[in-house]
Amino acid sequence: MTIIFVAGGIMLVLAIVTAIVLGWANVKFHVQVDPRVEAVMAALPGANCGGCGYVGCAEYAEAVVAGAITPDKCTVGGESCAKALAEIMGVSLQQSWPFRPVIHCGATYEDRLGRTEYKGEQSCTTANLVAGVQGCTYGCLGFGDCVRACDFDAIHVVAGLATVDYEKCVGCGACARICPRNIITMVPFKSRQMVVVTCSNKDMGKDVKAVCKVGCIGCKACERNSGGFFRIDKNLPVLDYDKYDPNNLDAIRVAVDKCPMKRLLFIGWPTEKDLEATKDLEAPDLVEADFKTTVDKTEWQG
């Protein structure tokens, strides 16, 4: 009988001691934090998933309060969470655009030079580790890591070039994350079609010519003709999609026309004009990867 009372008593004492110590510590070690951080923390789902790009919800909350990032980056919390955060921060949410992937490469197998037979594992991640698979070390490899990453059958390798099917794409960003050469980025589609720089080669024009028939040569024609909308950075045009206005594209259209390599393209859902123009055409057969491989084409290629 004694043992029950002693055991109970000890648990009680332990509980009281711990409670007192923790309570004391809570007061003694109190860190003054912005009350908004706590409010934001309370509004976040607390999944610590890292989807926003920060390590945990706490870091994201701090970044939001510090103004380093917009309050709509929590994918788990979604719209309601973004609204709550915006309310706490006293800001209004910007109109958000659907983000869709674009491929910053425009070269099919025919356009790429310096390609050699590659017999290794048929994935971009491994092929990217090997030198000499193809001349261009920036562009699409065409082994389809993005195709396998897509759960929506919305991206395919057509003639060696990853191509997005915008009818099926939901903008999850899986392809952009998997691409070992980082040539897929998520772009806010402010209209049905967006201007995209479809090349990633940062080399000088001469070197680009040596490895690709269609690559951007960094001639700066777009910079001159678009009134500064395009900016050449490391031999590639860069454009700021925040400033992109779909209703005021005149300057951009001039630059698109002037591009000698035709690397500035409107990419996105087909317009009605396009559909009308291609109505009578037969869809070409999908071109399969032309690499001779010793491994069969089953799912398990290991």
Binding site: T2, I3, V6, A7, G9, I10, M11, L14, A15, T18, V21, L22, A25, N26, K28, F29, H30, V31, N48, V55, G56, A58, E59, E121, Q122, S123, T125, T126, L129, E299, W300, Q301, G302
Partner: protein, 239 residues
């Protein structure tokens, strides 16, 4: 010196041979969950080592003075009777671990801001880490045994700290393997936790190779002592 060697063998035993993860299969959840990248795995390993040592200190104090049969505090409370309160072990240890992690988090947050940032989400996650509870129970086993030389405070702390380091070794090795594994074409059904567990099993097999190293080391040290003694004896006679 003898004592120091014993501690060295104990440390080696718990870091490599009786590895928490690869020998006892405790702490599997962080081992699978946080072993995707080496730097994160290292952070987790550090945090576990840190918390496990603190928890071992507290649980040793409680076990020694309260829980074990004939503990001074319990005897005092029950009016001179010898009671065995080790039945309370799980409750008390979980309680102590959770409390100390909470306390540590507050303390670190106040005084070691960069460390708190580095530990990030790991510290609260460790509260429910079974490796720590396992270390506490293992220490209790030695403390409650009669005349166990490993029941002292120092051996317990060595056990816990090097158990934590063993966990760190295991999780960092695993993270290194998994970083390489990203380049491999794993069958779809095995991706993620599946291949990781298989890899962990093979890793555990490899760690089995350490079995017996502790006994061999002890033997070696004993032999050395005997040689030293026999060498010292004639020298003493000559003088």
């Amino acid at each position: 010196m003898d004592y120091l060697f014993e501690m060295l063998v104990l440390a080696l035993t718990w870091a490599l041979i009786n590895n928490f993860v690869l020998h006892y299969f405790v702490g599997i959840c962080p081992f699978i969950g946080v072993s995707r990248r080496v730097d994160m795995a290292f952070g987790m390993g550090c945090a576990v080592t840190f918390v496990i040592t603190i928890a071992a200190l507290l649980s040793w104090l409680i076990t020694y003075y309260v829980l074990r049969a004939g503990a001074p505090l319990t005897t005092l409370l029950s009016g001179g009777k010898t009671l065995d309160l080790s039945i309370l072990n799980y409750t008390v240890y979980i309680f102590v671990i959770a409390g100390s992690v909470q306390f540590l988090e507050m303390y670190i947050r106040k005084f070691f801001r960069p460390l708190y940032k580095a530990f990030g989400v790991f510290l609260p996650l460790i509260t429910t880490n079974c490796a720590i509870l396992f270390a506490c129970l293992e220490i209790m086993k030695h403390v409650c045994a009669i005349n166990d030389p490993l029941g002292g405070l120092v051996p317990s702390l060595v056990l816990a700290a090097f158990g934590g380091i063993g966990f760190m070794i295991a999780i960092v090795i695993m993270a290194g393997i998994r970083e390489e594994l990203d380049h491999c074409d794993v069958p779809k059904s095995l991706r993620g936790a599946g291949i990781t567990l298989i890899t962990a099993g093979i890793l555990a097999l490899a760690f089995m190779g350490f079995t017996g190293v502790d006994r061999g080391l002890q033997q070696l040290l004993q032999d050395k002592e005997q040689v030293a003694e026999s060498a010292a004896a004639p020298a003493g006679q000559n003088n």
